[in-house]
Symmetry: C2
Subunit: 152 residues, 2 copies
């Protein structure tokens, strides 16, 4: 392990993610948002009225994690939860006007962070890099799936 730090994909990915999180947190803090709230809003801006279960599937986090994030978003008046018409267990997540108004500035902040992170990359390099990240997501997600009892 002379330098696990510069040769391990996992170590580097963790470091890169922490750096991105710091930058994004700072960038959206003025808007009253935290990183996980921003990620959740990305889905809700795309399609409002999703259930917690939908968000869990789309963001690939555990149900309990999403429940906590939604509780904080409700507290901060970014969302409201309304009873689902056909299933009394589920609740529909609705954006507030405030949350809708944050779409443009929040996306601009996030784009700015991405731009700084990839500043030294040519367009081709950036594409290869992003494709690499997607491949790793695929590889590790697949791993998890194989662990599942699948069916039978």
């Amino acid at each position: 392990m002379t330098s696990f730090k510069t040769r391990s994909a996992g170590y580097l990915a963790n470091h890169v993610a922490r750096l991105f999180a710091r930058e994004l947190a700072e960038a959206v803090r003025p808007l009253g948002l935290a990183p996980a709230q921003f990620m959740t809003l990305l889905e809700l801006w795309r399609q409002d009225g999703l259930t917690q279960k939908d968000l869990v599937a789309r963001l690939d986090v555990e149900q309990a994690t999403m429940a906590a994030t939604l509780a904080r978003m409700e507290r901060d008046e970014l969302i409201e939860r309304r009873p689902d018409q056909s299933d009394a267990r589920a609740r529909r997540i609705q954006l507030t006007a405030r949350a809708r108004s944050l779409e443009e500035p929040a996306l601009a902040a996030a784009r700015s962070v991405n731009a700084r992170a990839l500043a030294g990359f040519s367009e081709a390099e950036r594409d290869v890099f992003l494709a690499g990240l997607r491949r790793v997501v695929g590889a590790l997600s697949r791993t998890a799936e194989l662990d599942q009892p699948s069916d039978l």
Copy 2:
């Protein structure tokens, strides 16, 4: 934002890091280790007797974060803290025999996760990918440095 999820470096980095963390956590749990403890051990296996300040600099986390991780490691009998001979404020972090004995199995577990993550990559692709991660670390770390009042 048709698919910020597949086009944003920050989003992908966060996802990749979470997937790595899940896999690593599962891989080292049988050894009684958690991810952050493993990262800390990586430095201590390399050089024992570091101070908290040294670890903070090498792992790029906040001092308070490291203090908490070291507290859990002490609780779990992975380290001992001894007074520094020349500075009464500092404490030297010493590995226990148990922690030393975990080096081989823990590294093997981590390598296995990295191997699965990069399974589809050729050696050249892997090198380019890791170089990309290092470049982003450099870019975002530099950003932070520029925020500092530097000196003057």
